[in-house]
Symmetry: none
Subunit: 418 residues, 2 copies
């Protein structure tokens, strides 16, 4: 079943607010095998809404609308639906009574405008709203279904769940969409795709028993591979997805750091915990971002001991014992200083791991020899050291984020190779 | 001019990701008087995309697409546009050369799939992308314009700004929407609204020469007041908005920390720079988040000296000289320890300001007496000390963010009161 989700409300056409109802709707529709093909946001304008509704009804099997069912003149979803389906609006006495009773329970008299909420396109099924005055509506045109739900999530969500359970799930053949996300760092999107494409190319063939579609996504500091299996149960999907994930991990190797959605800081944290290792970090350009990511994980106090942000060179000398001569000879941004920072913080904190990061995040401070984006990272452990210089691309925030990603990935690979 | 925004990418049809590019695009289109009527999200499916594009081109004057310009087979925006407009795709040698050079600068060879990014529908104008391999495209069909931009915001935003400045703004002549954002911290949404509502109530009257609408928005750690003026020029809007902002600031006082969009860390940074003060911080629960926010501001090395994340009590004793007796007597989360941390880091770094934060971010570690969300913060300066205990509501991330917001706001108020 192909679905379209329409979010109705002019506030979602301003620069301040996005539609988020569609995420919850998508999750629930996907689980009963219903595929969301298009999502549209439209304002409180009956002509525009009627036009969008017409297209949606013509091109999908199911249209779920949220919003525009309130009592004010702005709320035109009922009217637009009636117009598009060519149905008259009738006053529904039972709804009117329910709204009146709702007001009465709070000691209030129903305002006259609330009568609008009792207007129903002829032949519609009313969907009860236990938590608000706006009932939902279920309408059909040929084989296409139109469901109108209120906008507030606390009213919408239980109504959606009831509609799916009682009306939509029994109609779908039971095939649902089930997902996995692989996260990869230290490789470019094209490099990942070059390796992964031959692997996932075969899965999309319609002859596969459980077809799996794959999307590749470059986000800051990492590449994500999203796998979606269409299967008649979670168990069936899991078999296919486990095999697919296994094949991709075999091809991509240790570059895959997560197959269960966990962020890199959680993966590294688990490896540290299992190794019973503790970590301390000395950060210059990243200014505490590495420590704040490591400590964002609940329970990280088990393996994070301390961190130092040494923005001034004096702090590197005072607190870490980095010899001034190394700074003078190699410059503050150098592998020698990164290593001395890592060793200094590790020695002073008596941890298993010390990390040192020094670089030029920009926008100023770059030179021809060491342009903005140059970052030296050292990870020193009981077993050895890994020291590298990176040339990251991006603004200050992006350079710093990639630096923390690289440092954690270096540590991850060392922990894996123990 | 009526516009439609299309966000292209199957990941935005999953339960995990919303389109946010459209917010920045809407803001900039509104400023040149261009009205966004519909926003649509569609997946990486050429048939679906071609269908949606056709409808958009038929019903609006301007269609802005983001995404689907990458090098992989998933990226079908170029092909869909060519199909809908009935244009052949030609290889554009200059683009190919630019992509090759971009890879060469990083010492890499261009992958063959990147050739796809040099395919251009015949007659299109190429929009240069200074920050990525995917160029944008400008196409026209009759009086309708189609603009294709890449999905990553850091590439998309400057390209959008160039298109608006050079190509779209000269075409529009009408009233634009102009906005201001006031940011407030340390007050609840209802407290802000109670003060602000009597002020802004009058502006929305349709008889006002420049009507201003106001939206109040509660976001993590702060309240925002969004003002929108409809005016025929920025200069005209600025006169009305300046007066409106002045009236709100007069009513709300020092709780307003920003009237120009700057985040709190930038506001505090400017105050520190003007005072020629330096700062050092000792963080426990916030794990480096305060330092990483302070150092996210370009040029912050002028006033940020160093920071210490002392997750272990031992680090508080070793590096800050917090007496073990104070920890034993008052507990690690106490105003006494926060103050000793602030004084310790200030003394050791010889800075003007020392900040200490210690708290329980959760999910574990709370007690009946000190539940999750209890955070003690001390700000110690040349002129005195401010020490407070907060009871924040929310998860680990929210407690930590609010803690850094509170610490910076305490410092801001002390700097203002100097």
């Amino acid at each position: 079943m192909k679905a379209c989700i329409l979010a109705i409300g002019s506030e979602m056409l301003t620069p301040f607010r996005v539609d988020t109802n569609s995420l919850a709707i998508t999750e629930r529709l996907n689980a009963i095998g219903c595929d969301v093909r298009v999502k549209t946001v439209v304002g409180d304008d009956i002509d525009e809404l009627a036009r969008v509704l017409t297209v949606a009804l013509d091109t999908t099997d199911l249209v779920i609308c949220t919003g525009g069912l309130g009592p004010t003149e702005d709320d035109v979803t009922r009217d637009a639906a009636a117009r598009v389906l060519g149905l008259p609006l009738d006053l529904h006495e039972a709804i009117l009574e329910r709204i009146r009773a709702r007001f009465a329970r709070r000691g209030l008299e129903m305002a006259d405008i609330n009568r609008r909420q009792a207007m129903v396109p002829r032949g519609a099924t009313v969907l009860e709203n236990a938590l608000g005055t706006a009932p939902g509506l279920w309408l059909e045109r040929g084989t296409t279904t139109l469901v109108l739900l209120p906008g507030p999530p606390r009213e919408m969500t239980p109504m959606l769940e009831a509609v799916i359970r009682d009306r939509l799930a029994p109609r779908t053949g039971g095939r649902g969409l089930f997902r996995r996300v692989l996260k990869i760092t230290g490789r470019t999107e094209s490099a990942v795709d070059a390796v992964a494409q031959p692997v996932y190319g075969a899965w999309t063939k319609s002859t596969a028993p459980i077809p799996i579609t794959t999307t590749i996504l470059a986000v800051m500091g990492q590449i994500e591979l999203h796998l979606t299996a269409s299967a008649s149960s979670r168990a069936e999907a899991d078999v296919a997805l486990d095999a697919a994930v296994g094949a991709l991990v075999a091809a991509l190797g240790a570059a895959v750091y997560s197959i269960d959605g966990r962020p890199l800081e959680a993966v590294v944290g688990d490896l540290l915990r299992r190794a019973r290792w503790t970590v301390a970090a000395a950060e210059s350009c990243t200014g505490g971002l590495l420590m704040s990511r490591l400590t964002a994980v609940p329970g990280s106090s088990a393996y994070v001991d301390r961190g130092l942000v040494c923005y001034s060179n004096q702090a590197k000398v005072d607190w870490l014992g980095v010899p001034q001569t190394i700074i003078d000879e190699h410059g503050a941004v150098s592998e020698s200083v990164a290593r001395a920072m890592a060793e200094g913080v590790r020695g002073r904190a008596s941890t298993n791991v010390g990390i040192g990061i020094t670089g030029i995040a920009g926008p100023d401070g770059g030179t021809a020899e060491k342009p903005v984006g140059t970052v030296a990272i050292a990870v020193v452990t009981d077993g050895g050291a890994d020291v590298r210089t990176f040339a990251f691309i991006g603004n200050r925030e992006q350079v710093n984020y990639q630096s923390t990603q690289a440092a954690m990935n270096m540590l991850r690979l060392m922990l894996l190779g123990r």
